[in-house]
Amino acid sequence: MTKNIGSARPRDDVRLLLDGRGTYLDDVPVTGALHVAFLRSPHAHADIAKIATAAAAALPGVVRVVTASDLAAICHGWGSSQTFPGLVERRQTALAATRAVYQGQPVAAVAAETRAIAEDGVEAIEVDWRPLPEMAALDHALEPGAAPAHGDLASNLAYSGTIGANIDPAIWKEAAHVLEESFIFHRVTGVPLETRGVVASYLPADGSLTVYQSHTAPHQLRSLYAMHLGLDEGRIHVVTPQVGGSFGVKIHLYPDEIATCAIARLIGRPVKFIADRLESFTADIHAREQRVRARVALGADGRFLAWQVDCLLGMGAFSTHPGSSVQEGDETVRLAATPYRVDAFAGRVDVAFQNKTIVGQYRGVGHPMASAVTEYMVDRSAEALGVLPEELRRRNYVPDDAYPTTSASGLPLDALSHRKCLDEILRLMDMPALRLAQAAFRAKGVYRGIGLSAFIERTATNVPVNAHVRKATAQDGVTLHIDPSGSVRAAITVTEQGQGTHTAIAQVIADALGVPFERVTVISGDSAATPYGSGIRASRGAPVGGELALKAGRALRRNVLAAAATLLQVAPDDLTLDNGTILRRGGGRGVRLDELAEAVHFRPQLFQHGAQPNLSVAMHFGHDWPTLVPTNGIQASYLEVDARTGMVRLLHHWAVDDFGTLINPLLAAEQVRGGIAQGIGQALYEELLYSEDGQLTNATLADYLLPKASDLPDITVGHVETPWPHSELGAKGAGEAGTTGALGAVLTAVNDALRPLGAKITEMPMTPERILRALGKI
């Protein structure tokens, strides 16, 4: 049997994209489209006393200037989804009407012949702003007397929840060691290479809306636009063309995107909005602004008697839509300490309103902080006990054979492999040799650090409790067709943003059906071409989409064999299909799939009377697994801290992950590497810098420091395969693991380097200035 599952194939669209022949949003041809530019609030918090649009409207080339009152009748606004009961909600409208509550919030829009004219129009709009006291700094958000982020709030506390159980106070007294630490994580954002964008066209003639959008979930958008614009969902067509990265940024729906569709409806002409980089920085979801306190009670034998982890999350002015901003803080706490046996766990999540951009789900959603905090505390514990960090990990891991189990924070977990992953990474690193090298450098006054960071990720969300409110994760669907040429077309709901979803899905179908990989074409991202279903989020493409593809491929195989059996006058069980050829088990003449397909489509007379062979399948799948799909892995970083300048030089990075059945080791490794780049970014470089009054001061790629290829170390990627036991395919989510483990690996490595200097650092990114302060040099 040919095996495609498990083979390291490059993405099948790589050549197309490198040739510059991809169709990204800006390449979508739309005749007569107007360009929309937004006037965004320059203030973090201000009343809008008056908006004067006449000068803008009079500019040649400006077609329409739109404010909140123009859209009020078309689009009513929305609240937050109550996926976290008790979350305080404030309604949003596509354009702010009387008050802006964060810098970058869309206030008015100009539709014009060109983007440049639209921007001229935006400049010509006069707004009478009445600035209000703003709440930007998270550390002060919950203090009594803090300025409220919305005028009518009594407190900026948007949500508060507890996780785990109360810890018996006696434990803290009796523990051999109690370790305590505070962590500061600053705001970052996802920065996909292709910015967000929408092309929307409304036909008054038939009430249809066609939307092209750089997004991950076309059907979800359809449902949401129907809801927001009061349109018949059946008349909404959404296409997500080639998408140049998402990282979570493009799973949300933004006010500017809703406004663009509403403007298309308002003026009855196609309109196009493409965020420029400045807008992306101010208006894409932000993430990771957290303060975390961790406290660990340690027995003399190294046992974790108790963990307390509290998180304060800054969520910005609103909870993200759809879904909830709370999720990030909740995941940070819920996943803390989960790789380990912990006798007692208690956690708390507080979420604060701020006059800042909305915080949403960026690759890893809470998991990087969970891992960084946990692994830092584990290292401190090892230090307190005088054992090697890897030794304490090995001792305290939930053993690989102890699953399924439930974490002390209440998460059901299954099929994890911490010990195997640790053994594999130590082997890849050649840890004893590395430690010797480190010691030799230290003797010369060169401070090198080695850091480990294990983690658990929760992947593959499916049909959560208020899915109908969020329209976020639905049952997935696929249709498979075989053409007369014998080629297979799969139209599936999981989508492609550059990670290779299509290639992986094609590999699964090729094996399940029994055809060469090259015969399978995968289509996604078009609501008119695929069944209803979720798109991509939460690393669900392989575990959920892959499982669906496997089931559908097998169903189609049954159809193919039934058709061939009719043609060949044998029982279906006597036939096999492999590599595109149907053979009789006992030998004798078979038939090629293309011959069979040709016969089915064009020569029905070859089949016995009444037989209607069917070379298509439509299938749906909403997983009913006992949990989300947990994955685990471990990363290691080797680096050098220049104690004179505070600069960090990354020397090498390792990752070992358990993604269950590997559909494509190459694509999985690429996901890991790209994710690590983003995790390293959060650890050392990336930070959205806000002034006290809520102004973002580094909204360019020159000032917001993304690590570049030359800043990154070589990354060794290894795998452990523990198949997910609840599916036939056994695959788990792989998209976010890289980001999740890298933050903690670099954090623990930097601290390992600083240890002989008596310094520590727990604020990220660990900039040269913060490292010099930790060293007491400034």
Partner: protein, 288 residues
């Protein structure tokens, strides 16, 4: 991120540029490599009504030597400066600085004149021009004049160039015998503007260093000479001064300004460390 409408005038000579500038006055800006001006126009922080494009001008480019004078035309691309053997031999400080300037694509377009005229306080070339006591040649319909680098940089993005004037060239004295140089900067990522940097020169005779001079950049509103630091360093020879003493001398020379990522204290510390690196390099045999 689209510029406001503007008129583009392409000129093919310095005279043509001067005429256009004289006609349009404050409304006009010169377009050289465009690597600083165009982004500012796209952000609409600069919105000239008229752009005078000098890229097709003859006689504004090129690196030439006349006796002891090395002349770099305003349109000399960074890449050309970086790869010039004339520069490497006669102006080794520039050769040391160039690898720190931008990325290749930027260096293929960015110009020497543009860098000086733009006067970014964190840029390398203004710092070098100051340390090397360069003479900036400026022209207009009113005639030609020369301004010493020390008088040329007037503040943040501000120079001695009047609205009707064009920077024509910069002239430097070729390296004196025994002159040694050092150039050090710290940038978060390769190719970024420095968060602080130091250009240094001295005369080395045998083991002895004399005439030590330092210019710091990325620390104030323009590149600054650091005479107190130089005195301290000279006094400490053959040993290196202490970091704390360096920071004190630095404070006497310049009030360090923060940028949006780094505090003055951070910059002072980095400059002090870079000065030590520079002194180490100046005293080392076999260096330029």
């Amino acid at each position: 991120m689209k510029p406001r409408p503007f008129k583009l005038i392409r000129v093919d000579s310095a005279e043509g540029a001067s005429e256009a500038l004289a006609r349009h006055g404050e409304e006009a800006r010169i377009l050289a490599g465009g690597q600083s001006l165009v982004p500012m126009m796209n952000f609409r922080v600069a919105a000239p009504a008229v752009l005078v494009d000098i890229n097709a001008c003859t006689g504004l480019g090129g690196i030439t030597r006349t006796g002891d004078i090395i002349r770099l035309g305003a349109l000399t691309r960074h890449r050309e400066t970086a790869t010039s053997t004339l520069v490497a031999d006669a102006l080794p400080l520039l050769a040391m600085a160039m690898p720190h300037v931008g990325h290749l694509a930027i260096c293929n377009r960015g110009t020497f004149g543009g860098s000086l005229a733009h006067a970014d306080p964190a840029a390398e070339l203004p710092a070098c021009a100051l340390l090397l006591d360069g003479s900036v040649v400026i022209g207009s319909l009113r005639g030609e004049r020369r301004v010493a680098a020390a008088d040329f940089f007037r503040g943040l993005y501000t120079t001695a160039i009047e609205p009707d004037e064009l920077l024509l060239a910069v002239e430097f004295q070729a390296r004196r015998p025994n002159a040694v140089f050092a150039f050090h900067e710290l940038a978060r990522r390769h190719g970024d503007f420095a968060l602080a940097g130091i250009a240094a020169s001295a005369i080395r005779v045998g083991e002895m260093l004399g005439d030590i001079a330092f210019v710091g950049f990325g620390i104030a509103d323009r590149p600054v000479l650091l005479p107190s630091v130089a005195r301290l360093a000279a006094g400490a020879l053959p040993r290196l001064p202490q970091i704390a003493a360096l920071k004190e001398a630095l404070a006497a020379d310049v009030e360090i300004l923060p940028d949006n990522q780094q505090s003055p204290a951070m910059k002072a510390h980095i400059v002090a460390e870079l000065i030590l690196d520079a002194l180490g390099q100046l005293s080392r045999k076999g260096t330029a």
